[in-house]
């Protein structure tokens, strides 16, 4: 696949090299735009919200702001989701809200030039397909690049109030 086709695709593949924060969920490695990350902190038990989906762990107090917290491991059907001292929460600063996501671990920050990016093949997964920006191909690793904004505001996340019908 040539780079021309890439650019013509519908996916928002950036033209310049961008920095990604990579994290692990079970054995998979994901990358998100570093500019969306506000901070990384340890996991503390949030306040449970009744009737919320299981992967919405509840809300916690982030310096006076009430922030919901989503366990991506549960959302992405990881086999186990333990909470211990090394469990990490990535606090995301999205355009209209602040949300925390629970991941197994944060790996590193990578700069990916556009030529390392490939569009994701059409596959059937639990992830909304339009939330996957593409794949980042490194020597021996494959990064799943997420459009975290789209992922978190999707209907499947149940983070946004449904518009009144």
């Amino acid at each position: 696949m040539s780079s021309n086709e890439l650019a013509a695709g519908t996916l928002p593949v950036p033209a310049e090299a961008r920095e990604y924060l990579t994290f692990r969920l079970d054995s998979e490695e994901y990358g998100i735009d570093i500019l969306k990350v506000q901070e990384i902190r340890g996991y503390e038990a949030p306040t449970r919200i009744a009737h919320a989906p299981l992967f919405v762990k509840g809300v916690f107090n982030l310096r006076g702001t009430i922030v919901p917290i989503v366990d991506l491991r549960l959302k992405f059907n990881c086999p186990k989701a333990d909470y211990d001292a090394s469990t990490v929460v990535i606090v995301l600063k999205l355009p209209r809200r602040v949300v925390g996501i629970v991941v197994d671990s944060v790996s590193d920050v990578l700069t990916l030039p556009p030529e390392y990016l490939k569009p994701a093949p059409e596959i059937d997964t639990v992830i909304d397909s339009d939330a996957v920006m593409g794949l980042g191909l490194l020597k021996d690793r494959m990064l799943i690049l997420l459009d975290i904004d789209r992922l978190m505001s999707g209907a499947g996340m149940a983070l946004v109030s449904e518009p009144p019908t």
Binding site: T47, A50, V59, G64, I66, R97, S161
Partner: protein, 708 residues
């Protein structure tokens, strides 16, 4: 009526009055600025209704405010502007450049007038008669061309394109010649218990150098202070100024020496001298203005910098409205409040953790912790106070409204306000205005009787409506009281029966009064266009309940009625009651909690094996099991919930079944929806002392839930 108002204001602290005016000065200044902007960009040929209406509104707002606050000169001038603009926007006359000029000049003069009032009425009054006449002639379709040729110097200056400021300079110059010279007065203050007010008068002269000078004079009585004052300000204005601190009865001002001639002045070294010629010199002038007056400035015993400042100010006779405040967006303030709230929690956590430390070993650190605690608390109070504004902002709307209303109804009403300086959260002030307006109108319309009826009842012809505000604990209580006819228990009961409400005869008075909050309920015998259409009190009650407040009524037939509105001090802070369910903590608004009690065994009856009812005294109430509503996991608990908390919302009561009552506390209300979504049965969230989030229960939703 105005006297009554003053009385109310006078009872409060001195700063109250100034604060009372400050908002008006700011708003008026903004309105004048806006008007000027709009006038400057106004295209005479294509001026559309929107532009003209906008300019009209600015003049109108300034006039309205000025009239309310009793600044007759400003009101008169802006009234003329308004008339001209009104004719313009109705297209009765065509806009012309002369009109724009004269309106700009008028706006400038209004500004100086306002600034003069803001400074406490000192300084000379810019002449307005000429402007008023010119505006009047233009408004009456006066010949624009003639206006130009016969116009005053001022008008020509404007047409010549120089700044509008110059207009006032020119006109005011005529006036300055008539300025009175310096006088020496003896001011006697007292007898006073406390000499602080007398000191305050001294400070007045220090704060406003243009006022003149003041010197102590030996006094033979301990409770009397005497001063020698050199000033060019007229006695009446001095009295007005001093009255901020000392009541007029304790003030005597006598002239010691007659007016000193201006010639004498130039040899003297009195700071007032330049001001007599410079007029409005005491206001901040724009730097770099032509320094034509500085030659006249005599040498005076002032520091060099003060002198320079003085000289700088002097040549600009145009007063500018002084901005003693800054406008900051609410979101910034709220962010500050959030951060401080967080600091308080952190501080509490540190305090808790350090409590176990040995005081001897960690003496320094513990002392530091104590300081931190005090500073944090002070900081929190100061930050919270930013959002607070005095009730006078609301109260000031009423005298005028009542006056109009009373004259329309043919009634005589005195309006008394108390506690205007009581402070309340800005958000609440905005929301309480409408309900209060309704209550005050009701008092005037239904409460106070017609003069002859009052006479027959042996009451003074003039009724009194009292509006008061006071802090009580963590809330503010606002009372609307009148000495009118009060409410008739029988009338309300019969009306209620007519409307098909079930009302037993043995209802207590306060229960009867609560009936008037039912939708569509009005006991007014005559339906007037003022109120009495039966869409009043229920809306009042609903609005106040929405603010977590309560309304109580007290009435005695023939003697009057009192409506007390109790509100939390701020919307951001709520009195909460925390309850435990399983291991979770939920917060209830204390204002909706009626009572709580321990459940006796078998006190709960089920209906259809689903709905539960509990008998509280003689009433069966639906039971809402919080553990079930919120799906609280309860594994290691054998003991069933056995505490009932009765809450009321929208007139219905339900009993919540909880495990523990944890306590009452003030909580900062946070929005859950800003980052998450609406959660059923939850109205918001708060952060507990340990940093954890607790959900605040939506009592209205819980009550509604029990209904189906």
């Amino acid at each position: 009526m105005s006297e009554a108002q003053e009385q109310g204001g006078g009872a409060e602290a001195d700063f109250d009055l100034t604060q009372f005016y400050q908002i008006f000065f700011e708003e008026a200044g903004e309105n004048l600025d806006q008007m000027e902007q709009m006038l400057l960009v106004l295209n005479l040929q294509t001026a559309d209704d929107e532009d003209l209406n906008g300019i009209f509104r600015c003049a109108h707002s300034v006039k309205g405010g000025a009239a309310t606050f009793g600044f007759a000169d400003v009101a008169e001038l802006t009234h003329q502007m308004e008339s001209l603009l009104d004719r313009l926007r109705r297209h009765e006359i065509e806009p012309s450049p002369a009109m724009v000029d004269v309106l700009l000049a008028a706006a400038d003069v209004s500004r100086s007038l306002l600034a003069r009032h803001q400074a406490g009425g000192i300084g000379e009054v810019p002449p307005t008669a000429d402007l008023v006449a010119r505006i009047g002639s233009l408004a009456n379709g006066g010949d624009v061309a003639a206006e130009r040729s016969t116009g005053t110097d001022a008008a020509q200056t404007v047409l010549a394109g120089s700044s509008a400021d110059q207009v006032v300079t020119d006109t005011s110059d005529h006036e300055t010649k008539a300025q009175t010279g310096l006088r020496v007065l003896e001011v006697v203050v007292g007898p006073l218990k406390d000499m602080a007010p007398a000191e305050a008068i001294r400070e007045l002269f220090r704060d406003i150098p243009e006022l003149g000078s003041i010197e102590d004079l030996a006094s033979d009585q301990a409770d009397v202070r005497k001063f020698t004052v050199r000033t060019s300000t007229v006695t009446a204005e001095l009295l007005d100024l001093f009255e901020f601190h000392v009541s007029r009865s304790q003030l005597t001002i006598t002239e010691v020496r007659p007016t000193i001639s201006l010639g004498e002045l130039s040899h003297g070294h009195d700071p007032v001298a330049p001001e007599t010629t410079a007029g409005f010199g005491f206001f901040e002038g724009a730097p770099g203005a032509p320094d034509s007056n500085s030659v006249q400035a005599p040498v005076r015993p002032l520091s060099a910098s003060a002198l320079a400042k003085q000289a700088d100010k002097a040549p600009l006779p145009l007063a500018q409205i002084e901005a003693a405040t800054i406008r900051v967006s609410i979101s910034k303030v709220d962010q500050l409040i959030n951060l401080v709230g967080e600091l308080v929690i952190t501080q509490a956590m540190l305090a808790q953790n350090s409590r176990a430390l040995d005081a001897a070993d960690y003496q320094k650190m513990l002392a530091g912790m104590a300081d931190l605690e005090r500073n944090t608390r002070d900081l929190q109070e100061s930050v919270m106070s930013i959002r607070m504004i005095p009730m006078s902002v609301v109260f000031s709307r009423f005298p005028r409204m009542l006056r109009d209303l009373a004259s329309k109804l043919g009634k005589k009403v005195d309006f008394v306000t108390l506690g205007e300086s009581t402070e309340l959260d800005k958000g609440l002030v905005e929301k309480i205005t409408d309900p209060l307006t309704h209550l005050v109108r009701n008092s005037c319309d239904h409460g106070v009787e017609m003069p002859e009826e009052r006479r027959r009842a042996g009451k003074p012809e003039t009724g009194t409506i009292t509006l008061s505000a006071a802090h009580q604990g963590g809330s503010i209580v606002i009372e609307v009281r009148d000495d009118g006819r009060g409410m008739s228990r029988e009338k309300i009961l019969s009306k209620a029966r007519q409307r098909g409400l079930e009302v037993p005869d043995q209802m207590t008075d306060s229960e009867v009064w609560q009936l008037i909050f039912a939708p569509g309920f009005s006991t007014a015998e005559v339906v007037t266009d003022v109120s009495g259409r039966g869409v009043g009190m229920d809306v009042v009650k609903r609005n106040i309940t929405a603010l977590n407040g309560t309304v109580e009524i007290d009435s005695a037939e023939g003697y009057g009625m009192k409506v007390s509105v109790r509100l939390p001090l701020t919307l951001a802070i709520m009195d909460g009651m925390s309850v435990g369910v399983g291991k979770e903590v939920y917060m209830l608004p204390l204002s909706s909690v009626i009572e709580s009690f321990q459940l006796k065994v078998d006190a709960i009856n089920t209906v259809g094996h689903e709905s539960q009812l509990v008998k509280v005294r003689d009433e069966y109430m639906p039971v809402v099991e919080l553990a079930r509503v919120f799906q609280v996991p309860r594994h290691d608990r054998d003991r069933p919930s056995d505490i009932m908390v009765v809450i009321e919302a929208e007139g219905s009561r339900v009993a919540l079944l909880v495990d523990d009552l944890l306590g009452q506390q003030q909580v900062v209300v946070k929005n859950l929806e800003s980052n998450y979504r609406k959660v059923p049965n939850v109205s918001g969230a708060t952060i507990l002392g340990d940093g954890k989030v607790a959900l605040i229960l939506d009592t209205v939703a819980l009550v509604r839930r029990s209904r189906h």
